[in-house]
Symmetry: C2
């Protein structure tokens, strides 16, 4: 399940309002039709951290219900262990194929605290778990030693890496190092869309993808090429999307850009992020629209 | 209200359990008896970010109910604006004298997003608000320009600074700069206990204090000395407490240390932090106990 393209859709949340469940269901259906390998509901792109337990449980059920058999991975991160345990229970009850757990922090966490969190959660879990390493949002930095400790826990099946070295040989060496460190059954995934082709070419099994959640076709083309050993083709596909990566860099990450893109495509309303997140202004949205048209991503 | 010693008690939360309301009420009563100038319920020390809306509302009511007329400031920070608005409403209904708002983040926030949050919250607020600047936990960095914009909003009455320059002259210059920047009605508060004496000596109006929530007497002695112009006395009192500041530095902040201290004093059980926070181990707790005994803080 944790190989190929894992596509992370937005959860459209208008300002102070409730989840736009109809738009979310349609986003999920679109990914299933495109043939992605798995769907990552309630990832960072899915605004999991901003929703109530009830909202998250409903979103998980909608994702599974509209995925047409494509495995759904559900984000279960929260500040408190008790909340994570509840989210894990709700994800399992919704029929999730796996869960994604980030060590979200307010008070900085120690390695032992993060291990304890994963230990308690996996002891209560009957489906596979992906370690979600995203220091930009969690402000927790994993060590290789902690990866290895976590890999010894039941159900730990994959890791979602935040980045790899830019140099192809160094990236490959890093993936090989992780292969030796982790059980053979565990898959290694890259996130950070701009680095995905390099990551897949370096040997990653999967791309945990933001743009895959809104533009599944180019993300699938890139993934299929890299996984089939057509490394140059994968890099070319990534280079073609460079104007998108530039927008991500300009706007401090991918979320505001894919939110504007989804609205431009008519997949959601323009107010699709939970306040205080405000999304892009009219001028910035126009620039996103221009890039989408130029790259012919609007088909 | 936002002058002198503002003491921030723990909210005792055992692991995955519910708030120990009885212990919390006693902590608040202890602060009122000691004569602190205000009580900061549900600050970072009060684990506000880990509690549900219902738990926070109950804690706010208990704080006001046991404060014996001492003004209670209630922390209302949350990831989503909607949650902050709810917490503000609950704090007002509980009888809070003021609220404390930190721009908690998961997705990094822009200045405009933080301004928008404060604008929406203050538009719905009938009691004073303290800007809570704590980049260590919120991962948001305020600029002076943003301070000035926020100061123009109704109800904004104080700012809780994370730090000041170590050099006394520079610290004084910084406070004077802020005085010119902010309305005369706004007070300036220091946090970071180890720097409190320097901050008060530099002209801060108030100390938003962690140790004041567990050891009100020495915190009051330090505050009274500094505010009366006995600057050397304040510094000596702070130097006397240096073993505590050393423990804070050793354990990545004050929370784990004051949690261990409160348990050592018998004010809470040993499990008084919400998981995944694990508090100190037995050896570390013994070291905290030794420092408390040596400083005669156990009287």
């Amino acid at each position: 399940m944790f190989t190929g393209l894992s596509a992370f859709p937005l959860t459209p949340v208008p300002g102070n309002g409730s989840v736009d469940e109809k738009a979310f269901a349609a986003l999920v259906e679109r990914l299933a039709v495109a043939g992605v390998d798995s769907i990552g509901a309630l990832g960072s792109t899915g605004s999991y951290a901003y929703l109530t337990r009830e909202e998250r449980a409903r979103v998980a059920r909608i994702a599974v219900g509209h995925a047409d058999g494509v495995p759904v991975i559900v984000g279960i991160g929260a500040l408190r262990t008790r909340q994570v345990l509840q989210a894990a229970e709700d994800a399992q009850n919704a029929g999730a194929a796996g869960v994604l757990l980030a060590p979200v922090s307010y008070q900085p966490l120690t390695d032992d605290e993060v291990f304890g969190l994963f230990e308690e959660v996996t002891a209560n879990l009957s489906i596979p778990l992906v370690i979600y390493d995203n220091p930009r949002t969690t402000h927790f930095t994993f060590t290789d030693q902690l990866y290895a400790r976590l890999a010894s826990l039941p159900q730990v099946a994959s890791v979602k890496l935040p980045a790899l070295p830019a140099d192809p040989a160094e990236a490959r060496a890093r993936v090989e190092h992780l292969r030796r460190l982790l059980p053979a059954t565990m898959t290694i995934g890259i996130s950070g869309d701009a680095a995905a082709a390099r990551g897949l070419n370096a040997g990653c099994d999967t791309w945990y993808s933001v743009i895959g959640g809104t533009f599944p076709e180019p993300a699938l083309a890139l993934t299929r090429a890299a996984r089939a050993g057509r490394h140059e083709h994968a890099l070319q596909e990534s280079q073609r999307l460079q104007p998108l990566w530039d927008l991500f860099a300009r706007h401090g990450g991918s979320l505001r850009v894919v939110a504007a893109a989804a609205a431009h495509l008519g997949l959601t309303s323009h107010h699709n992020l939970p306040l205080p997140s405000r999304g892009l202004n009219a001028e910035e949205r126009a620039r996103v629209a221009t890039v989408i048209e130029q790259l012919r991503l609007n088909t």
